[in-house]
């Protein structure tokens, strides 16, 4: 497998949200998951362009579901994290954990 590309902070957030949501990961559920976990709602523009970018990098894959009436007959675009994506996000998270390990924050709190 080719080396996983470095990830930006929001890219990691999106990848983790897709992994958390699982099989039902599409635009709305991913945005809700991010809002719930991070307490900030991502703009649709930022989310969809990030999803497109992740797909171009080969970190996520997407497929269209069946059209549903509550969406005016429009299909959902479901996302899954590829093996490369899992590798990239795990590597990025390990890097954060190494940086935090044993760190004494200003004010005396331990990480």
């Amino acid at each position: 497998m080719a080396a996983a590309p470095p990830l930006g902070e929001f890219e990691q957030v999106v990848l983790l949200a897709i992994l958390r949501v699982g099989d039902d990961a599409y635009g709305v559920t991913i945005r809700r998951e991010i809002a719930e976990c991070t307490e900030r709602e991502p703009a649709p523009g930022a989310l969809y362009t990030t999803l497109d970018r992740l797909e171009e990098k080969g970190l996520v894959a997407s497929k269209y579901g069946d059209p549903t009436p509550e969406r005016g007959g429009r299909a959902k675009r479901y996302f899954t994290v590829t093996a490369r994506g899992v590798h990239a996000v795990a590597r990025a998270q390990r890097a954060y954990q190494r940086l935090m390990k044993g760190l004494v924050l200003p004010g005396g709190a331990r990480a």
Binding site: Y26, P44, G45, Y48, E70, G72, K76
Partner: protein, 206 residues
């Protein structure tokens, strides 16, 4: 046209039609947030997709716009000459039919002796302006919809910049008329109109 269809059309000009449908479907699922939220989301998404599209292949788009400029010059010249010939004949036949008897008209036509007065300058100018600033850009726009489907707006933005430069340095000189940089926004507007017309005429790709 319902708001979802309008939003879908707008988004399909900066990305694929299938993705635009999916984006709008997502927004419709949260329609209880209201009309303002819907349109604010569509606008922000549209701008984000446009920005991303512009950065995806700026050099290729710029080269396409330069090629389109020379095609535009060629198309304008052909249309202007054809238009001038047609209008001259129509003008002349109208003049002859009003100033000659039927027999004189027939002998004139048989001898191919066109002795009618020149077309007024205002009419010539109008024909040139319509061809240069409306008809030729409209056809360039139709072509752009075929080759740059889903990137029409990005191409128009790049065109606005590139064509302004081309008009400054390589202006198209018609009969007493040239494509000045100030006219480029009007031309690009008709390019977009042509692209939109073609978009609604062509079947969606499978």
């Amino acid at each position: 046209m319902r708001k979802a269809d309008v939003a879908e059309t707008l988004l399909s000009l900066v990305g694929s039609a299938e993705r635009a449908r999916s984006f709008v479907g997502d927004l419709m699922e949260e329609r209880e947030r209201g009309r303002v939220w819907f349109w604010r989301s569509v606008t922000r998404l549209w701008l984000a997709l446009l920005g991303r599209d512009l950065l995806s292949a700026p050099l290729t788009m710029a080269i396409s716009c330069v090629i389109a400029w020379f095609l535009y010059m060629l198309l304008s010249a052909v249309l202007a000459v054809a238009g001038y010939v047609v209008v001259t004949l129509v003008w002349g036949l109208a003049y002859v039919s009003n100033n000659h008897t039927g027999l004189e008209l027939l002998t004139d036509l048989l001898r191919i002796r066109f002795n009618w007065p020149p077309i007024p300058d205002a009419a010539t100018y109008l024909i040139q302006a319509v061809v240069l600033f409306v008809i030729a850009p409209f056809h360039i726009g139709r072509g752009s919809a075929r080759f740059w489907r889903g990137h029409e707006v990005s191409l128009a933005v790049v065109m606005l910049v590139v064509w302004t430069g081309m008009a400054a340095f390589v202006p198209l000189v018609g009969i007493g008329i040239a494509a000045r940089p100030a006219m480029v926004p009007v031309m690009v507007m008709f390019v977009l109109a042509g692209a939109l017309r073609e978009r609604f005429r062509l079947p969606a790709p499978s």
